[in-house]
Each structure stands twice: as structure tokens, then as C-alpha cells.
């Protein structure tokens, strides 16, 4: 009886984790087919560039997202100031902007040929080369663009972490002579470390995997290299090997981060008390805080949105038709389904890992959650290959035994798409849920177990309510991510099935930015609803909770 029970939990984590790990493993399988010729060429020419640019891009984006996300999260969670009520959810909106779209809009505005520089030239009679103006389409520009749309990861996770910190610790550090600001550096920040670094890691992983922005900005990274090797040289194996290298590197970073804090715990041992009231500050300070929080919203959302609107206004008649409603509906339902699936899986995995500390459970889950660092196209192929293989097998067997052909059951249906989203966004949901779980002390689990609850019930009765904010955060992040997801959707979607992201991309890739503006805005609008609903419910859950 004892053994059997143990195994159920282990298997119910292990099996789905193994399934989700397959696409990543497919990529790693490429290592078995050496491509010395291509590698020699890459090493001699562009590999160093790829590595350095990728590192700079991910590092820079990580730092940018970390700074913007953490500071705004702290301000929003600690202070009472004008406009806070709106900023707390406005700060999330840049997440809904596909990175390449914001890249297009800023290029449109700030490029040499754009309105700003044109006005400058006309005003001062300058000509090309007469003056210096920061170049948007550069590595620095890419870092800025990605930071602007990715900092909400850090913001959301950090805000939850800050809000859930026990008031007792704040009091303890104050009796020891620390001002609130010093408390932030010495206690609040380190305690929020899992959440903040999770957010940063997500931003960095997304930066590693980004293709659209860097491609447009002419920055050669690992990802552009992967596509160049695959599409340009037609060498899918070497491309997969590059992807595997990238993934291993990310894995190494993640493992190092975990290892460096393996002994540290982040739950409060005593009876949890919720944070003290937000601190009121004087008007000058309020304005300062308001400006600080407004800045990322302004740059990451309002300015590009205005540009998009101005583009969209010129030809909305062309694009706004009935078909457009279908696009919105498709995008919304797909994102909602994927978010729910992904969060359920994340709960299962995170909780399973909490229950079973053994390597057998930890490793497959870690591998399954690597998909976020891999370019979406590569993941999609990783999903497609095994699914099509399975379909082929089933089809063959059915034909042999029953004389019927089953065709494509899994690939080419929404199943393939949802599986790909699960693989790709598991990292997002898993890491948010895990960061939340780390703040729940283990004696909660024990207490519930000793009162006769089975682990699944403990999850339902204890962890879910305590994790509510983290779960909502995860839902929202995955929802918005799926909404703007492009590469996997592009390859794996069934016939006659389009989403807003696909439409946006098609128009944008044809360099028809004005037409692309409307679907891009629609992505933002569709995200707006859950963003507002969830942001409210996050706040109310914290208010209602002790």
C-alpha cells in the first residue's frame, strides 16, 4: 500500500513531464549527428558574434527588465500615491505588445527617415552625418525594446512577492535600525529573489529566443544564426545543435542560480501577517513616484500604441471586417485554453516537486520547462516531428489491421498547437507557481496532511488559496504570451485557422506596417480585459487575505 501510493504521485508528474520534455529532447538528439563541416565554418566566421550578441542582448534585457520591474513593483506595493490605482495594471500592458511591433513603431518614429529626425533636420538645416542621434536599430535598441515589453514579468512576480512578505520581517528590521529603504535592500529584495530572478530569467529566455526584433534590427544572435543555418544552409541538424547549445547554456544558468541558493528558504517561519498599510508620502514624492511608474508605461505602451493607432486610423476600413471578429475569437479562446492547461500542468509539476524531492521527478520537469529559451519555431518542429511520427504509426497500424486510414490525429490539429504552447510556456507558469510555493512554509502541508488530507486535497484546500495571486499571475502571463505567440502558431495551426498574431506578422513581414497596426492593437485590447480583471482580483485577494 505504501509503495503503490508513492508511485502514483511520481508517475503522474513523471509521465506528463516526460511528454513535454520530448520536444526539447528531440532537439538534443541532434547532437548525435555531428556536422563538423558546418561547425568549422560557423566557428571561423560568425559563431563568436552570435555568442557575444546573444549574451549582451539577454544580459542587457535581463538587467533592464530587472530594474524596471523591481522598482515599479516595490513602489506600487509600498506607497500610496496619486494614480497608483491605474498604474498598477497599466504597468502590465507593455507585455501585450509583441516585441517586433514595438520595434517597428519606434523605428518608424526615431529612424533617420522618421518624423522626429526629419523635423530636427528641417528645423536646424542638418544633413545626414551632421549630428548624432541614437540609432534605434542596434543592439542597444533591441535591448531597450525587449526590456520595455518584458519588464512586466519581473513586475508581476516581484509585486506578488513583495505583497506576500510577512509584515513581521519589516518590523524586525526596523527595530534593528533599518529604514524602509534599507529594509528593501537587505530583506525585501533578497526575500523576493526567487520571484525577481524568475521574472528576469523569463525575460532573458525570451530575449534569447527572440527572432523578430533582432532580425529587423540587423543584430545577429544565436537565434538568427539558428534560422540562417536551417533555412539558409538547409541544415536542420546543425540548426538543432545550435539550439541545443543555447538551451544547455540556459539550463546551466538556471541550475547555477538554484544551486547558489539551495540552502536558503524563502518562507516565513512564524505566523504570517500581511503587509502593513501602504505608506503615504507628500505630494512632491507622490509626483516623483507617479512619474517613475508612468515612464515604463509611457515608453512600453502608450507611445507605441499611439503610433499604432495613427497607422490604424488611415486604413481601418480595409482590415476591419467580419473575418476580423473570427481572428479575435480564435486568439482569445486559444490563449485562454493554453493558459489554463499550462497553469494546471505547472501546479501539478511544482507541487509534485515539493512532494518528491528525488531527482527522478526534478530532472524531467526541469527539462520540460526549458522550452521557453528555445526559439518557437524550433520547439514547434520538436513538437511536430514526434506527433507526426505517432500519427504515422497509428495510421499504419490501423490500415494493416482494420483497413482504414486514420490520417493525422494529433499533428495538424489544435492538439498539436496546445501541446506546443504547453511546452513553450510551461517555464512561465511553472516558475511563477514555484516562486509562490517557496513562500509557503512546509508545516502548512504537514498540518493539512496530519488532518487526513491527501496531497491533492492539500493542494486544493491550502496551496491554491494561498497561491491565488501566483496562479492568477501565471494565468495572465501565459494568456498574453500565447496571444502574441507567433512561430509555433504559424507552423502548427490547422487549415483556415488564423490568429491576431499571425495576421499581424504576415502584414508586418510584408512591410505593410499600417495594415499590421490594427491586429496588433487588437492583441493589446484582447489582453486588456484579463489584465484588468486579474489585476483587480490580485489586489482584492491580497486585501481580503490576512
Amino acid at each position: 500500500m505504501m509503495r503503490g501510493w508513492r508511485d502514483i504521485w511520481r508517475w503522474s508528474v513523471l509521465l506528463p513531464a516526460a511528454v513535454l520534455a520530448v520536444p526539447v529532447l528531440v532537439i538534443f538528439a541532434s547532437i548525435g549527428y555531428p556536422q563538423p563541416d558546418v561547425w568549422l565554418h560557423l566557428r571561423q566566421t560568425v559563431l563568436a558574434d552570435y555568442v557575444i550578441n546573444s549574451l549582451l542582448l539577454a544580459g542587457g534585457t535581463g538587467i533592464g527588465a530587472l530594474l524596471m520591474g523591481t522598482s515599479t513593483a516595490w513602489i506600487i506595493s509600498q506607497y500610496q500615491f496619486i494614480g497608483r490605482r491605474y498604474l498598477r495594471w497599466l504597468l502590465l500592458l507593455p507585455l501585450a505588445m509583441p516585441a517586433y511591433i514595438i520595434a517597428y513603431t519606434y523605428t518608424g518614429m526615431l529612424d533617420f527617415a522618421g518624423p522626429l529626425q526629419t523635423i530636427l533636420r528641417e528645423q536646424f538645416g542638418w544633413r545626414y552625418g551632421d549630428y548624432w542621434f541614437p540609432e534605434v536599430r542596434s543592439l542597444g535598441g533591441a535591448i531597450l525594446m525587449l526590456s520595455l515589453v518584458l519588464y512586466p514579468y519581473v513586475y508581476m512576480l516581484a509585486r506578488t512577492a513583495f505583497l506576500e512578505q510577512s509584515a513581521s520581517l519589516f518590523e524586525a528590521s526596523r527595530t534593528l535600525g533599518f529604514t524602509p529603504r534599507q529594509h528593501f535592500w537587505k530583506v525585501a529584495l533578497p526575500l523576493a529573489r526567487p520571484a525577481i530572478l524568475t521574472g528576469t530569467a523569463l525575460a532573458m529566455m525570451e530575449a534569447f529566443a527572440d527572432y523578430g526584433t533582432v532580425q529587423y534590427f540587423g543584430v545577429t544572435t544565436f537565434t538568427t544564426g539558428i534560422f540562417r543555418t536551417w533555412f539558409g544552409m538547409g541544415n536542420q541538424v546543425a540548426a538543432a545543435q545550435l539550439a541545443a547549445l543555447l538551451t544547455s547554456f540556459v539550463l546551466l544558468l538556471l541550475v547555477l542560480e538554484r544551486w547558489s541558493r539551495r540552502k536558503i528558504r524563502y518562507y516565513y517561519q512564524g505566523q504570517h501577517r500581511h503587509s502593513h498599510a501602504r505608506r503615504p508620502v507628500n505630494l512632491a514624492h507622490q509626483l516623483l513616484l507617479f512619474t517613475l511608474c508612468l515612464l515604463p508605461v509611457l515608453l512600453g505602451f502608450i507611445v507605441p500604441a499611439i503610433q499604432l493607432i495613427s497607422w490604424a486610423l488611415t486604413n481601418y476600413q480595409v482590415t476591419l471586417n467580419r473575418e476580423f471578429g473570427v481572428l479575435v475569437w480564435n486568439s482569445f479562446t486559444l490563449a485562454a485554453m493554453a493558459a489554463i492547461i499550462s497553469v494546471l500542468l505547472a501546479l501539478l509539476f511544482a507541487y509534485g516537486k515539493r512532494l518528491r524531492r528525488d531527482v527522478m521527478v526534478q530532472v524531467p520537469v526541469r527539462i520540460a520547462a526549458l522550452g521557453y529559451a528555445v526559439p518557437g519555431t524550433v520547439i514547434a518542429i520538436g513538437v511536430m516531428l514526434p506527433l507526426a511520427w505517432v500519427d504515422g504509426r497509428i495510421d499504419l497500424l490501423a490500415e494493416q489491421w482494420f483497413g482504414v486510414r486514420t490520417g493525422l490525429i494529433f499533428s495538424g490539429t489544435l492538439f498539436a498547437l496546445l501541446l506546443a504552447y504547453s511546452v513553450r510556456f510551461l517555464a512561465v507558469s511553472l516558475h511563477s507557481v514555484e516562486a509562490g510555493l517557496e513562500r509557503i512554509k512546509p508545516s502548512m502541508d504537514n498540518a493539512a496532511r496530519s488532518l487526513g488530507y491527501k496531497p491533492l486535497h492539500v493542494l486544493q484546500k491550502i496551496h491554491l488559496p494561498l497561491l491565488r495571486t501566483s496562479v492568477l499571475t501565471a494565468l495572465l502571463l501565459v494568456f498574453v504570451d500565447v496571444l502574441k505567440e507567433l512561430p509555433a502558431t504559424l507552423i502548427l495551426r490547422p487549415f483556415n485557422f488564423n490568429t491576431l498574431a499571425v495576421r499581424t506578422y504576415e502584414l508586418a513581414s510584408d512591410e505593410r506596417l499600417a495594415d499590421a497596426a490594427l491586429p496588433a492593437l487588437a492583441i493589446v485590447l484582447v489582453s486588456l480585459l484579463p489584465v484588468i480583471v486579474l489585476a483587480r482580483s490580485v489586489d482584492s485577494s491580497i486585501k481580503g487575505k490576512p
Binding site: 518590523e171 527595530t175 535600525g177 529573489r193
Partner: protein
């Protein structure tokens, strides 16, 4: 040094601490005792500056730090605190928790100090551990060491020894008392262990339902309780009904007691007399006897619940050799130093 004037504190409108006035001189130790939920922690929190006072004022070293209008932020008060639930930092090692409050201090000084304190609380080898790797009592000791480290002006201790075994708590209490006196730190300690309060305190305050019932020296508190509640709460004892006689004497079923101090009581008034278990000495040779109604073994002693012939019950603490059976009649003798009387209400 520490001065409270008619302090009141409320949680969302519900006043849980009322009209508390007390003061301690520099280096003095005050203990707060009282039933669970009477407001001890709340009072400490108000002194530390975490709760606003809704009436009255708190002053430290002559400066008002809290009144109904304004509160000095906690970090400017130089008040250390050992929290009831420890409030240790989970992300820091034991050593870093302890050195947390040591700011503007060189590394080597920090290290020495941490070593000293770890030694003091009996955890010399656990500096590198994290909090979740400690037992409950070990955590409590770290909390104590952390609060002591910066040598605050005022130290607030909320049941700082509750998770420690007797031996350790007594040793630690003695050493802490020494340190506090040596550094002239004023301290307020909450404890449920009256022995501890008696041993540590210069002044003891008994609280009930948010009010301070008595603020007095340990001896006075025990021997001259100001109210029935204090009499009942401090030490053991029963209130034996009696009647005041003309000659300032009180008649009870245990005999007649002399009332030694002045009182406004009139002959014929009904009163209750406080009888402590140690007022009744078990003496096999005594002619007065009582019946054993209940007994509790407590190591060195047995606490007998005795039924007098009049039907009233008293307690008697006898050395544990005197192991008498339930129902047995045993000899008792009265040995009353102070007569404590409370007028009967009706």
C-alpha cells in the same frame, strides 16, 4: 527613561489596551504578566512603534515618541525587540541574522560580537546554519541574540524563553539580566513564567483585559496584591470567606487572623482572605486536619487540594516525601505573614 502615560491602543476600532501608565528607570527590568490575549504583545508593539497609540503618550529618555497625533518611526527609537514568533530572516544564516543590526561596524568587530552572542545563547557551532535548520528553541535563542547585538536603549522581550527548557532558561535569564544591567539597558519582558518574572524583574505589571492591574515590585505583588484578580493570578491560593471582628481581627473557618494594617473595614463586614499554599504548612503533628481532595505531583513537591471541615477548600504545598493518599486526613498548620483581605461585594 521609559514612560507610558494612559496609553491606549486599538485594532480597527477595537481598543485592546487601555489607560496604561508605567515607568522604568534606566537599566531597570519590567515584566508584564497576564492572561493570554490581554494585550501584552500589543503594548510592546506600541512601545516599539508598530502600533499607533490612540490615546496617551509614550516617551523614551524624556522625548515623546508616540502620542495620538504622531509616532516616531520604529527605526529611530533605538528599541530592540524579541518577537513572540521570532521574526527571523529566512534568507540569512544564523550569524547574519545576529549581525543584521550591527551597522557601521567593521567586519572583525561583527565577527567577534556574533561569536560572543552565539556563545551566550549556547549555539557556538550553528552560525552557518539557516533558520529552517534550527529547532524551535534554537530559533528563539537566535532571536534573542539578534535583538541584543546592537545594544539598544530599550529592549522589549516577548516571551523570550518560552521554548527553552528550565535549565537553559534560568541560565540564560541570569546572564541576560547581567548584560542588561551592565549595559544599562531598560527592558520590558513579557513572560508566563512567574518564577522568571520574580527572578528577573525590578517591577512587575499584571495586565488583564487590556488594563494594568498593578505595577509593583515582585515581593509586593505577591504579598500585597492590589486586587482579587492579581491575588488570584499571581502565585496560587484561595480566597477564604471571613468576617471582620471588632478588634481588627478576621474570623475564618481556619481560625482568627490579626489584621495588621489599617483598613477602612468595619466590624461585621464580610471579607475574603487570601490563603497561599505556603501559608498552610503540612504538619503531621498538628491537631487541625483537612482531607486530601486532589493532589498533583510536581517533583520536589506535592500540591494538595485540601477540604476543610467547613467544606471550603485550600491548597497546601508539601515536600514530596509526604505522599498522602486521596481522602486521607492530614495535619495542617497556618503560617500567615501578611493578611490580604478583599471586601466581599455583596
Amino acid at each position: 527613561m521609559l514612560n507610558l502615560q494612559q496609553v491606549a491602543v486599538a485594532y480597527s476600532g477595537n481598543t485592546v489596551v487601555k489607560d496604561i501608565s508605567l515607568s522604568l528607570a534606566k537599566g531597570q527590568i519590567g515584566c508584564l504578566v497576564g492572561p493570554s490575549g490581554c494585550g501584552k504583545t500589543t503594548l510592546l508593539r506600541a512601545i516599539a512603534g508598530f502600533e499607533a497609540v490612540c490615546a496617551g503618550s509614550i516617551s523614551l529618555q524624556g522625548n515623546i515618541v508616540s502620542n495620538a497625533e504622531q509616532q516616531l518611526p520604529p527605526e529611530l527609537r533605538q528599541v530592540g525587540m524579541v518577537f513572540q514568533d521570532f521574526a527571523l530572516f529566512p534568507h540569512l544564516s544564523v550569524a547574519h541574522n545576529i549581525s543584521f543590526g550591527l551597522r557601521h561596524v567593521s567586519k572583525s568587530v561583527k565577527a567577534t560580537k556574533v561569536k560572543q552572542l552565539l556563545q551566550l545563547v549556547g549555539l557556538p557551532d550553528l552560525g552557518q546554519r539557516y533558520i529552517h535548520q534550527l529547532s524551535g528553541g534554537q530559533q528563539q535563542r537566535v532571536a534573542l541574540a539578534r535583538a541584543l547585538a546592537p545594544e539598544p536603549n530599550v529592549l522589549l522581550l516577548d516571551e523570550p524563553f518560552s521554548s527553552l527548557d528550565t535549565e537553559l532558561r534560568e541560565g540564560l535569564a541570569r546572564e541576560i539580566r547581567q548584560i542588561l544591567q551592565q549595559l544599562q539597558i531598560t527592558a520590558v519582558m513579557v513572560t508566563h513564567d512567574q518564577n522568571e518574572a520574580f527572578a528577573m524583574a525590578d517591577m512587575i505589571g499584571v495586565m488583564a483585559q487590556g488594563r494594568l492591574q498593578q505595577w509593583a515590585s515582585p515581593y509586593e505583588l505577591y504579598h500585597k496584591p492590589a486586587s482579587r484578580f492579581v491575588a488570584d493570578f499571581i502565585g496560587r491560593g484561595v480566597l477564604l470567606p471571613g468576617t471582620v471582628l471588632a478588634a481588627q481581627q478576621v474570623q475564618t473557618s481556619l481560625g482568627i487572623f490579626q489584621q495588621r494594617y489599617v483598613s477602612s473595614l468595619q466590624p461585621g463586614d464580610k471579607v475574603d482572605v487570601l490563603i497561599r499554599p505556603d501559608d498552610i504548612v503540612h504538619d503531621d503533628s498538628s491537631s487541625v486536619t483537612a482531607q486530601v481532595a486532589d493532589k498533583a505531583f510536581r517533583g520536589s513537591h506535592i500540591l494538595y487540594q485540601l477540604k476543610l471541615d467547613s467544606g471550603e477548600q485550600v491548597q497546601c504545598l508539601a515536600l514530596s516525601h509526604h505522599n498522602h493518599a486521596m481522602g486521607e486526613h492530614i495535619g495542617i498548620r497556618l503560617d500567615l505573614d501578611h493578611l490580604v483581605l478583599f471586601p466581599r461585594d455583596h
